[in-house]
Symmetry: C2
Subunit: 555 residues, 2 copies
Amino acid sequence: MTKRSKNMAQNETKELSMTHHTAAATHLSGESIIAGQRVAGTGKAVSGVNPATGEALEPTYQLIDESQLAQATAAAAEAYPSFSALTPQEHAAFLESAASKIDALGDALTQRVMAETGLPEARANMERGRTVNQLRLFASVVRQGDFRGVRVDPAIPDRTPMPRPEVRQRKIPLGPVAVFGASNFPLAFSVAGGDTASALAAGCPVVFKAHNAHPGTSEMVGRAISDAVAEAGLHPGVFSLIYGAGSSIGQSLASDPAIHAVGFTGSRAAGVSLMKAAAAREVPIPVYAEMSSINPVFFFEGVLQKSPEDLSELAKAYLASVTGSSGQLCTAPGLVFVPAGARGDAFLEAVGEASAAAAGQTMLTASIADSWNAGVEQLAAQAGVDLVGRGAEGATKNAPAPVIYQASSEQFRDNPVLHEEIFGAASLVIRYTSTEDLVTTASRLEGQLTATLHLTESDYSSAAPLVPVLEGKVGRILANGWPTGVEVNHAMVHGGPFPATSDSRTTSVGTLGIERFLRPVAYQNLPEELLPAPVKADNPWNLNRRVNGDLQLES
Amino acid sequence: MTKRSKNMAQNETKELSMTHHTAAATHLSGESIIAGQRVAGTGKAVSGVNPATGEALEPTYQLIDESQLAQATAAAAEAYPSFSALTPQEHAAFLESAASKIDALGDALTQRVMAETGLPEARANMERGRTVNQLRLFASVVRQGDFRGVRVDPAIPDRTPMPRPEVRQRKIPLGPVAVFGASNFPLAFSVAGGDTASALAAGCPVVFKAHNAHPGTSEMVGRAISDAVAEAGLHPGVFSLIYGAGSSIGQSLASDPAIHAVGFTGSRAAGVSLMKAAAAREVPIPVYAEMSSINPVFFFEGVLQKSPEDLSELAKAYLASVTGSSGQLCTAPGLVFVPAGARGDAFLEAVGEASAAAAGQTMLTASIADSWNAGVEQLAAQAGVDLVGRGAEGATKNAPAPVIYQASSEQFRDNPVLHEEIFGAASLVIRYTSTEDLVTTASRLEGQLTATLHLTESDYSSAAPLVPVLEGKVGRILANGWPTGVEVNHAMVHGGPFPATSDSRTTSVGTLGIERFLRPVAYQNLPEELLPAPVKADNPWNLNRRVNGDLQLES
């Protein structure tokens, strides 16, 4: 039995002994949760709004003030010493308990997500599954322990001219982390999303600023985490959920001396403003902002040598990726390169037909729908931009018709407007004339989360020179699929050069994300009695270690 | 035979076959080396100065202008694709060749270092050994390959509701790196120092800005690297050495779009100015600046229960660490906590005697000596600061007398001047009254490279609460030694929270430093033919991989 499968068996036993409190956990109070206490704000009141109907949802949430924020960050700082020193068992059990409590929210959570975001039921349920699986995945990472990065260079007492000291290294959590929820993933990139899960797994207390577009969803999930903190007997400052005015409380949080890192998913403007706040601090801190990406997709000639039926399937898959979740996905394919000429024309004809068959779906908020409309209007007005196809408006409010436009690669290279993200169900096809044209045009792209190649064996030689260009531009390169639908696993990179993210050295999805919240500390000749457990000589946590530079696995 | 020892055997064989060209390599031209070409600058002329005599050293170096700088960064960008794709064998052999060529500079290099810096011969030779060993250590890291961070999550075609794709991950080099040499390590933190070695090992071309205090040393070492580039048949843009006006060329280099990261060792002011330049770019980049540290040392009561002879030895060791290299070491113990009371008094008496016996040594430059004098003068003028002991001035110019002062912990806590680094042979003793006092005072410290505990078994319980406080403040904690003399190995951390460095998540000494110059890229369902070698299914580079989250070692 591997260490991992032992862990999984332990998890299952744990699950069976959990009790669920669905009813109590789904009543909404409209309050922030500051270090385990429900706290009514003193500021403006906001409420969730059903974007499909425009109806305001109960309860209202009063935004907190600066002094209430300071209570949350101070409590997080207080919680750090004990939280960062949990055993792997205590630590992982806490994450698993939080997952179970979110699971136990069941259909009440799904209904609230749907009401606040307009997202369909299947999507809400899938996202809940992803969120709890992610917490459990990070629990397994905590039990396995490789993220602690233990290194040992043993002493060599008889080295000349001087004895070699013993040096040990481990990674410790940075300190309290501020996380900002995204509008478009009310569960998986929100209160218990990837940033929170990886920060908590690293051993960092989290102060979470709820997105005001889904306050009730946030409260339900925040309560689940807060209850898990209490049940595990942890310091209550391990987790706070605050409702605040976006920009002002956001800047205060990123500037708070108790905060040691920021996780953010959202717009480029908001992300850049957090980066600037963090860089301007007396002690600058890292900001992990996932911002803006148009996710280029490249069709090669060979892959378009298909029957009309197969081209039609390909076009439908394109539209499905553009319109899924009303196009409000970080990895939606906003830019699709199609060769000029007959095969490309045939494909675009199929895309036109698939577009016409596509129906609008409710967007997350009225203001997001307004921005989408403005973006599409601006794009349509650019010289050389032509309509490929337009679908139908949805039956609800804020459900605009999906659209596909096209332009030439020359127009794309010369016009920065064509490089801008339009958040929602719109996509721009670029017609290119040669592999050289493709490589040149791709080299002008800004940083992206993903790039996708559609190709067949006959295209490999054309695609080969593009791959290194894309490696320099994106976090993930995929083939013969669509970039939406991000796997949460060990090898995933949901990141990429600016402006896709603020820091290309990391990922905000997948287990590598835990490294964002860690830093190394070395111990030289420290007596065994004073060494922390991960680096003690007898390896009480059974960790894999790098000894004299080589990995040594514990079974 | 492990993979590592195989590598070492290969290295030795390689060494024996190298030929040396000492004479030609040590003639100095006074020119920058831009992508393999010697280029005369168009700006002001500077020359090295022997700080012991004030004598200017031949030749003069004419500083380059902005357009010459742009040639170097453009060449580095051009070199990136081929350099980043070298096989481990080619890549490691290049690093080893550079090491051998520096070694071959022999005594000529030592003499030039001594003339330009005033450092003694033993130190110059030791530093040369450290520099070439460091290049060879990074060559072994390149051959071993764990830094490529390969992860594989295999496909699960029959997963429901959707097949699981295959996802592979590796780390790629960031791109061209700008490195700024330090004044105080003309070899090990200069042209072929840790930043250059780790950036080249990561696969990043380097544009190195020479420190104008040791231009001849820089040219000799730069030529060795440049020759190694040429002999290996690499793109000449892999390495450039430029002479420029510190602040203006520095800002241009950090702002150049072709540059993807900055390595720096030097003053807090210069480091912060590079951080600001990098954050203000259209595309911000990471800055790894190692800046300011006073390296607190904590003496506990028990360890001072010694005979007068042993206390005298301890005091001499303290002075040796303060005065070594004229105190111009990043890790020099600028702050030493000693308990109030009789045992502390006895130790300070011994420190006073050891100070009186200490002699001044030539400092690196006249301006560094001037800054030291100003710092000491300011410190001595503070309320409650008393002299413990003063040595003798050295016989040369710029060799001020080492000094030790003391103050109370209360005075230290209240006066920010007492927290400032004085670069050179000066140290401040702080008398503390209790463990609580020590913990409180330590918690007020800024970020540091190191903290040192002097203790015996009876002190462990007093020291235990201090350890987690120090983990939050420093990169390395050591016991019963002195922080100067940094091992270059796998577990070392030469880093720490701001202002010790700009980025506490890393180290500028030791093999972990390579991670500064890498970022992850994921490949999803990419055909084997298009995958780069490190992630190909048949693992042609024989790399250790993380599969489904668990490490799998290749033997």
